[in-house]
């Protein structure tokens, strides 16, 4: 993406019919550390790569519960994500109070998308710099949605966002047709393996990743450290199988998939957190 004279305001169109500020906001999402989501017939699982700004600090939280049946994983400016979380929680609780029933995920996602769209059409605002993977259950079944800074929303069987997410996406693309018949635990394993693809020169530990689950008989909750570590340990047992299935060289795949300048940014050493995650 090249700097040009039409990208100062979000309310300025370029002659090519593009809103560059909105596109830059979407770039911001790509700079954040990865988040992955996938669903089967009964459950939806979210996974995140957590970064710490230094050895002294804690790891950035990126998984949030919105209601008993809905949760999000985010990538990008987490502060923006937190504000959207607050909005989503209040919408859910309002619906519960008036109708004594959970807000359907598809409705919540549209409300978030409409809120994001407002920021793309006001000269005194900027788009939200965060991508949300919304996992939820309603009458129609399990859902996974992606809310984009542009104000668009998409439904997915499985998806990954953030830096080096292309590697995770490739993992998911090869297997997503098998996901719907997976069990809950198998789905969690797949999520961890997908997230693993987005790590570079880093061991998967319960401290640098997070998993959250929601199902018909299971309220949305984030797995605690011990449970998470035991899942990671079972991954180790099947390491050989995972290595075969994974793409040959994650670095080159992600480098090839993105435009010039941003690939350079993505190749930074993984131990350093990118600014957007703070």
């Amino acid at each position: 993406m090249f700097r040009n004279q039409y990208d100062t305001d979000v309310t300025t169109w370029s002659p090519a019919g593009r809103l560059h500020q909105v596109e830059y906001a979407m770039e911001g999402v790509k700079q954040g550390s990865a988040a992955v989501g996938l669903k089967c017939k009964t459950h939806v699982v979210l996974a995140s790569v957590n970064k710490a700004s230094s050895e002294l600090s804690s790891y950035q939280k990126k998984l949030f519960k919105i209601d008993e049946n809905i949760g999000v994983a985010m990538a990008g400016i987490i502060a923006d994500g937190r504000v959207l979380c607050k909005f989503m929680r209040s919408e859910c609780i309002y619906h519960q109070f008036v109708f004594e029933a959970p807000l359907p995920v598809s409705r919540l996602v549209v409300q978030v998308a409409d809120k994001a769209q407002v920021c793309t059409q006001r000269s005194w605002k900027r788009p939200y710099g965060v991508g949300l993977l919304v996992a939820g259950l309603d009458e129609a079944g399990p859902h996974l949605y992606y809310n984009c800074p542009s104000g668009n929303y998409y439904e997915y069987y499985a998806f990954a966002i953030g830096s080096r997410s292309q590697a995770a996406k490739t993992y998911l693309e090869r297997r997503f047709e098998t996901f719907k018949d997976c069990s809950r635990d198998e789905l969690i394993r797949h999520a961890l393996l997908a997230v693993k693809e987005s790590l570079q020169d880093e061991e998967l530990k319960s401290t640098n990743c997070g998993i959250a689950v929601v199902g018909a008989d299971e309220d949305f909750h984030i797995l605690d450290g011990e449970t998470l570590q035991s899942f990671i340990d079972t991954l180790e047992d099947n390491k050989a199988e995972a290595k075969e299935a994974a793409p040959e060289d994650p670095a080159s795949t992600s480098g090839g998939g993105e435009a010039g300048p941003s690939a350079g940014a993505a190749e930074e050493p993984p131990a350093e957190a990118t600014p957007m995650d703070m």
Binding site: F97, V98, P104
Partner: protein
């Protein structure tokens, strides 16, 4: 004169739409709230049966002791899955109907696969009735809401003070006293449509014999998974030669 105009302007700015405001002789506004109903409907009955819900009500709207309106529809479908029936002040019922129409319209405008079920509508109604009660300006109705969604049957009541509950068979007004005992005796969960209608007709007949503000012109609403249908008006055969009606002043000499 000036007092009245001033009072009227102040009333407007207060947005006192629901209540009547009158200027008293001292020029101060006295906001009057609903004290009593004017045009009223009598009982509504509701039962669950094998395939769904049945609601029944007569078509009278009385003005005090006069049977003023004899083709007033007191049963109304709400969305795809529910039907509502009300007794009490009919103008308030019409306002509630408008609110529910707006609610279901907004629900449709989302244009997604989600619809409001009977439970949600019941909850919404309850919030409205309770809120008005808190303002000491109630919507003077006793409402029955019945519906079927995803195979689940739902039958609930909301009163004018916001009391709400669900049950297998419900009634408002005189129906609570005259129909419920019969329903308690005869109701079964696996009744067919014919059995359900017959049971309701029996109760409606009792109400016609004994409730002064009822007329012999009824509608029955049926809700199943397929949707809502409200029957065209019908009457029930009466028999005034029953022994109970002979010599009506037997136990009360001098009355008529």
């Amino acid at each position: 004169m000036e007092h009245t105009i001033e009072a009227f302007k102040r009333e407007e700015s207060l947005g006192a739409r629901h209540s009547g405001a009158a200027a008293a002789s001292d020029g101060k506004i006295h906001i009057e709230r609903t004290q009593y109903p004017y045009v009223t409907g009598s009982s509504v009955l509701g039962i669950k049966y094998k395939d769904g819900i049945l609601l029944a009500a007569d078509m009278a709207a009385s003005y005090g002791s006069t049977k003023r309106y004899k083709s007033f529809q007191r049963l109304k479908p709400v969305g795809k899955h529910a039907v509502i029936g009300a007794s009490g002040e009919m103008s308030d019922f019409q306002q509630i109907s408008t609110m529910l129409d707006e609610l279901t319209l907004r629900d449709q405008m989302w244009d997604d696969s989600n619809t409001l079920g009977p439970h949600e509508i019941h909850s919404y109604l309850n919030r409205i009735m309770y809120q008005r009660r808190n303002k000491f300006d109630p919507l003077w109705n006793n409402i029955i809401l019945g519906g079927v969604k995803n195979g689940k049957k739902y039958l609930g009541v909301v009163s004018m003070i916001g009391v709400h509950f669900e049950d297998d068979h419900v009634a408002t007004g005189f129906g609570q006293h005259l129909a419920r005992p019969e329903l308690r005796k005869q109701w079964r969960a696996d009744m067919t449509l014919e059995e359900g209608v017959r049971l309701l007709e029996k109760c409606l007949l009792v109400l016609y014999y004994r409730d002064r503000s009822s007329i012999n012109k009824y509608q029955i609403a049926k809700v199943t998974e397929e949707g809502v249908t409200i029957s065209s008006p019908f009457a029930i055969e009466t028999n005034w030669e029953l022994e109970a009606f002979q010599n009506p002043t037997k136990n009360a000499e001098g009355s008529w």
